[in-house]
Symmetry: C2
Subunit: 123 residues, 2 copies
DNA sequence: TCAACCGTATTATACATATAATACACTTTC
DNA sequence: GAAAGTGTATTATATGTATAATACGGTTGA
């Protein structure tokens, strides 16, 4: 069963996107694996304090990406092939790195200053 | 005059937030300085291909933060004290660093792997 | 002076996001 | 078999974002 322990809503990003991102990052790290069952829409929405439709939107997009299967009446399961995991990993890392480098550059930081900042915030 | 050269809309973030972020980062880097005139709402909206109201929203928020003054009929000007710049710098760097570290951690990367990734994307 | 530009304001429409309240058919479990 | 839980679907409302079309009064500069 996929655990949402340690997941908290934050920032201005849409909730369904935050859920999607949490699941993809878990797949990349290996804490979420192929065949793992997801909490039901109702259970997760109650856990997060959001509307069931919001969870459903995240799950629907997950399924449309081929990362999950769902059948009426039964629990939904993650579908994670090695190829899919590598694809997600590349997408996420590239996006995050690009965003940070853009930000640091626009603020006039050197590569060394950026590295030192990350090092300090790692704790 | 504040230049928007090198600024392009990207991603899903609201346009008015992207404009605000660009101006704040410019203030931190020193490319935008106290007293600098901003392009008019109409001119900037035409340059970016967005609605004048969207630019007005960004400018209004900038003014509400005390980083700009505007008077009917005249050009708007940046208001950047040393204290304000330090505040913006802290806010932006903290937010960016926190976001990246959270992402890398959730994907199971080590500090060294994250540093190598940033180093590679710096080019 | 006066035309051009500026900041500001209003009204309307459209889309995305999120919530709320139901409803129905299917699966699982006792 | 029956109850509980599940995926799925619908309709409605509210808010934020973005666009569109105007309008008005103040400032600037030829």
């Amino acid at each position: 069963m996929v655990s949402f322990e340690g997941f908290t809503l934050s920032g201005n990003a849409p909730i369904y996107q935050q859920i999607l991102l949490f699941l993809k990052r878990g797949a990349v790290s290996g804490t979420i694996r192929d065949g793992d069952e997801l909490p039901s829409r109702r259970v997760l929405s109650a856990l997060l304090g959001v509307n069931p439709n919001t969870v459903q939107k995240a799950y629907r997009l997950l399924e449309e990406e081929g990362l999950m299967t769902s059948h009426t009446g039964a629990k939904s399961q993650m579908v994670l092939t090695g190829e899919a995991i590598r694809r997600i990993r590349s997408e996420l890392l590239e996006g995050d790195a690009r965003a940070l480098v853009t930000a640091m550059r626009q603020m006039g930081l050197t590569k060394e200053e950026a590295a030192a900042l990350i090092d300090r915030y790692w704790e």
